[in-house]
Symmetry: none
Subunit: 202 residues, 4 copies
Amino acid sequence: MANKTAPDSSRRSERSRRAILDASLALVGEVGYDKLTIEGIASRAGVGKQTIYRWWPSKAAVLLDAFTAGVDEDYAQGLPDTGDLTADLKSVLHATVDEFNDPAFQAPYRALAVAGANDEELSRTFVSRLIEPGIRVYADRLRAAQESGEVAADADLRVAAEMLLSPFSQRWLMRTGELTYDFVDTLVDLVMRALRPGSESV
Amino acid sequence: MANKTAPDSSRRSERSRRAILDASLALVGEVGYDKLTIEGIASRAGVGKQTIYRWWPSKAAVLLDAFTAGVDEDYAQGLPDTGDLTADLKSVLHATVDEFNDPAFQAPYRALAVAGANDEELSRTFVSRLIEPGIRVYADRLRAAQESGEVAADADLRVAAEMLLSPFSQRWLMRTGELTYDFVDTLVDLVMRALRPGSESV
Amino acid sequence: MANKTAPDSSRRSERSRRAILDASLALVGEVGYDKLTIEGIASRAGVGKQTIYRWWPSKAAVLLDAFTAGVDEDYAQGLPDTGDLTADLKSVLHATVDEFNDPAFQAPYRALAVAGANDEELSRTFVSRLIEPGIRVYADRLRAAQESGEVAADADLRVAAEMLLSPFSQRWLMRTGELTYDFVDTLVDLVMRALRPGSESV
Amino acid sequence: MANKTAPDSSRRSERSRRAILDASLALVGEVGYDKLTIEGIASRAGVGKQTIYRWWPSKAAVLLDAFTAGVDEDYAQGLPDTGDLTADLKSVLHATVDEFNDPAFQAPYRALAVAGANDEELSRTFVSRLIEPGIRVYADRLRAAQESGEVAADADLRVAAEMLLSPFSQRWLMRTGELTYDFVDTLVDLVMRALRPGSESV
DNA sequence: TGGTAAACGAGACGGTACGTCGAGTCTTGAT
DNA sequence: ATCAAGACTCGACGTACCGTCTCGTTTACCA
């Protein structure tokens, strides 16, 4: 299947791998995604270009690895559950507002979102590693609330989670609006109205 | 502000302008945004590269002009109002599902969304010319419904419109899910629950 | 022969003509021949490009006109004739040494010599307007000396004049040696030996 | 002095070097110096432009290398010495007349002469690699003749050599006259008169 | 413990596209 | 009709990176 003999990953230099990942993150923050080059990464990392090409298919893939390296475990413990769904959602989303307003976080994440739009393969990984887990932890928290009767039994929780998250990420990605606590509060309140038991469709 | 003496737009060649815009759209459909080049556009349009650089700052700006040329009037007549908000929303969104599933439409739109993420200036134009008007016509329709008592008086209609549109465009842009009639129906139903009179927050 | 209708030279703007010629000389001194451009001349002269193209076929032709404008009459009065050929030649060549060592003179003259080498048409004009007259005044002075018996009767005076002038201009053009009074004195002395009466070939 | 880190010449591709040199000579013969372009050379040689820019500073430098590649050894054996100076000079110059009247030779040589006039750095190399050795072999032959008493003891042989060569190359370069056997014969005869023993200046 | 094969740093290579400059042509108003 | 101005098509410039390809030079396993 592979036309080139695959490299022997057991002999891979961990030192180079880390240097490349670090250089990528540093550079994307400094010059932006468009001006991020393989040559630049190699030179900053003190590494031969071939070492990058040997292990990654594109600069987007490098960046994706660099970015997801420290993020995977964030979703592990799920959302808090104090028994008050509205309060839990607001508190988590307030934290997320702060995170997405942090410039250091923006550059690589935005770059990946973008790169994914034009690279379907990359997109799959990006979605399954970063976006999908995010949606899922929200859907899971909603399910818990549903089971405790806090949420209407017939609500489509996946779509509900998207109603919560997409307006948020859309505002951020496309700069269609400010990301404020007020905004997410309004959003949560509206969604909660839709999910309230007794609001079932006729 | 301008470092170069601005060109005299009264002497601009309409013929060249159209050729460039047409070539851009054709090419982005054929080769995609990443492989779209200024040289390619110029050559296809039978135009000197300088003529492109004289009037546009980047390939993204060309594409934005090309794309918005025929779209501006789409929002002019607003959304239909048959008196049944749910039905109106579903019918419009069904049409939009079809539009966004059309490959000819996808390439340039996706490209612009992407280009905007990394170019703040371009992003503003993209949002104000394409996205903002879209949100606005939905918000307007909701307002009409609110005035007729079909929607709760205290609902934030702008955020409600985003709850309707963002999950949709997010699925499309990031490929986080299928765009189907079912999906938008579920979406509309959920949002309508949130907006139903009598659902006001306590 | 001309495919375009020739411009009507009676309506030509003398003001523009002078401005173009002046700008050419000024610019060639400032930036050198290679970086001399038609656009630069036009802009400096406050003139449309077309006005230059209308009246001259190339930048070299402009420069040739500019340069020869004030030079033609230099050759009119011929070489001095005090009766002492050797002294006359040395005194004139000393003056020429000074002239050719003047930087203001070098740039355009060198440029024309060069342009001529690759443009046969221009070359003809350059030679017939500038070089040929120079050789001729020397040959004429030699002829006078021959008639007065100061020079051998059988000497080829045209070639003798070239023996005097070519080593000089060669040194200057190709930078093969310094242009000094000593050098031209040596040159004159050697040539005079060849021309001395009684040196006729056997 | 060098602002860019110099390339590692030990890794230079001999194949590319030869292809570039060959293409340069071929093209200058076909299109002339002015229309000779780096892009043209690169494309003809099947080479990236950067490979030319990496090793040469200008098209003139490429051409100089190309031209001198096969010429250096021409001067190695010096001029013939049959004991008859006049005959030796005439026979060599006759050969040179033929060489300079050969169109294949003219284009690059003329181009270099010209390029040198406007590029002092190039000029030095051109002179020291091609012109100076030429003058020197003539001066050497004259010295041999001087030592054997065929030439006056006090004559400046360097200037004498220039008297022989400069009128020749001047005629060729500036097209001030025909290059014929007759011309060089006359030239040699005149110079020989100047050098004849007993012609010493008083 | 020394030999050898892979990965490595470095960077030259053939290419493509960049954004700029100037050439020479063409069009528009003003004189 | 010529002029100043400058937009146009075209071609080349010199630069930046691409992804591929040698080069020695580590490095780590295995004989």
